[in-house]
Symmetry: C2
Subunit: 450 residues, 2 copies
Amino acid sequence: MKELERLFFPKTVALVGASPDGAKLGGIVLRNLLSLKGRVFPVNPRYDEILGLHSFPSAGSLPEPVDLSIIMRPAAEVPGILAELRGKTHFALIVSAGFAETGAAGLQSEIVRIASEAGVRLVGPNCLGVYNPFHRLDTMFLPHESMKRPKRGNVAVVSQSGAMMICLLDAIRVANTGVSRAVNYGNAADLDAPEVYEYLADDDGTAVVVSYLESVSDGRRFLEAARFLSRRKPLLVLKAGKGEGGSAAAFSHTGRLAGNYGVFRSLLAHYGIREVAGFDELLDAAKAVSYQRPAPGTRVCIITNGGGSGVLAADECARHGLQLAGLPEDVRQALKNTFPSFYTVANPVDLTGQVRDDDYREALFALRDHFDGFVVIALTGVAGVTLRLGDHLREFRETVRKPLVVHIAQGGVAPRLIPLVEKAGIPVYPSPERAVRGLAALLESEGNHG
Amino acid sequence: MKELERLFFPKTVALVGASPDGAKLGGIVLRNLLSLKGRVFPVNPRYDEILGLHSFPSAGSLPEPVDLSIIMRPAAEVPGILAELRGKTHFALIVSAGFAETGAAGLQSEIVRIASEAGVRLVGPNCLGVYNPFHRLDTMFLPHESMKRPKRGNVAVVSQSGAMMICLLDAIRVANTGVSRAVNYGNAADLDAPEVYEYLADDDGTAVVVSYLESVSDGRRFLEAARFLSRRKPLLVLKAGKGEGGSAAAFSHTGRLAGNYGVFRSLLAHYGIREVAGFDELLDAAKAVSYQRPAPGTRVCIITNGGGSGVLAADECARHGLQLAGLPEDVRQALKNTFPSFYTVANPVDLTGQVRDDDYREALFALRDHFDGFVVIALTGVAGVTLRLGDHLREFRETVRKPLVVHIAQGGVAPRLIPLVEKAGIPVYPSPERAVRGLAALLESEGNHG
């Protein structure tokens, strides 16, 4: 068994700092753990029993060695707790803050030393820990009422930042895709992104990995692991802490140096690892790769009923190295003969505000063999766009397995059309630019070797 | 009276191509015109009366000269209609497509010549026309059921593209700001952006102008008018059709050459006109300037309860030339003494997941005099963020009139907190990067002389 299997699928979990009070962090996490597919051991000397579970007075008094211990006690108590956990746990996940990120580098070195001597693997400190809906494992100290969890799916999240893990999980939930595993490793005193990448490369439940990071401790190790993973499944990396202000902020966040971004960036490119430029772009790309598999090619066709939206999509294609190739002359003539004279039969194809939804189908199938990916733009305020467009898009996606993304603007049938299209495995975006960003993650263009 | 006052506040409007059928474009526009603060003359030879209004058989048979005639007949009929309108209308707004944008440049030249000889000013062709909620003027051929209109407000929209006008109006509606005037001038055979800019510069109802364009016919005229306007109120310009593919798309969209974007861009900068990079950024900037007035300075303070969100905001500041200056030492010490030791008192100020909402107030007021603008980030999944934060932000905004933008992540009290904060005149954004883009539009940094 891979070592990280015990972190993501623990049979036994201890919670040091468990509380019966649902308003306290140790109470929130205990409640979340109650649905674990495994046994839970609360640790708190003030209680004999918490929420119906026997409570143990100390980490040292656990009745058997557990796979995972979660530590939710003030930083100063952590060294003592780790010493007690010798022989009692495989992983110790330290939620507590107050280590290197606040300047207490000495305290962090101390817990690393103690854990190493005790043979305990560390996650954190200063982290939210692990989420695995397939094992009903959830160490995040946020109640379900205030943070809805995403459903089960195939996207893994690896985040140095807890806030970003929360935001990514929420975005995945809203995008109607689902999560396989998620981990926030915080200060990375021991467990770091490379080891998680290696695990996920072989994890059959994970099809796509989305990773937020601010710093790496061993650049070569990171790049090797990222390349290993990205050769097996799409890996999207967002590196924050880019500029001077940003890297100072990253340092005070997790206590690690962010390094020179320019060097890091060119190394990522050299290793063929796909980097995204910012958080919004990470979400757009993650949505695309969770719906569809990447495919080779850079030739894009845009089919729109709004000229301006088509122009913006064309501009965004240029930014991502995607080509708006011209239409083959015979297809162009055939479409010109089919369509009203005021439609523009070029790339973008502009079906104008007087479009009927069958026109989209006509254009898509006529052009299916001549492009590598398609952007469909539907401004739904006009009468000719109905729910039938959803059927046409599904039919195209089912018969032509090429990357296809859609921008649907608010209005008209949009609220009913969007879920219909997404159910057919086609990601829908709220702007032309964001739709193209999604497509860029699905096509292998210059600088996108994912 | 300014000439364009007759376009935005017409006392009399003729609709050539009016229809009783609410499914036809001429029927939709007639219905929208029924609430006009003015008189409406339908023109259609097949009816004596439409929707209770007397219908005239031809443009030439209008009983009196009108301020505005809207033409919704096929392109081939337009020259004849314009000839009939001699002496009968001040403006002719040609909704019909099928002119230069589809290659029919000759037909477009013809209508320009006829209109010029007849002393008729043209809007369009190939456009949606005008929206002025203060005059209940609405020439857009989209029914209210499929396109909700924004409320009255202080943002004007000037768009070459009809689709973009719709998207901008919808975004303004969703952002809960409102519109003063909007115009889509399409192929710009006569009326073009510069003339509208000059009108809006003096229009007391308009505080901010958002403009989407793909091409300009007279670069010097455009730049002079844009500078004139932007010295009086914020003008945000999005130029689409940037790359080769994009400018070809722009050409087939409105039949005008998009020109060299690099040259255009440096001219904008030289003239001190604020350009935004894309559609999403235009929306973010427009939201900010519709809520708050721009102010001088580039020193930004970020106050967050999520470290990673703070780092991403810091990165985005760097992209916009905004500085994350350090905290004055005495203030830093005072805050360190106030806050728990695991908070990070730097810039960003990281109040961590254990924040209480009073901490935001504490930090904001301690730092009020030391920065030009503020970004507050609240991840609302944690227990310490409540609706009280809304009160604190309102109090800060009311007493310290400096630019303040907020990123609130979904979860917890977010759905109730967001409207509370926006009601206090503080724009809320769904990501740290977008919040900073909003702030960048409010601060006058290098390259932002708006």
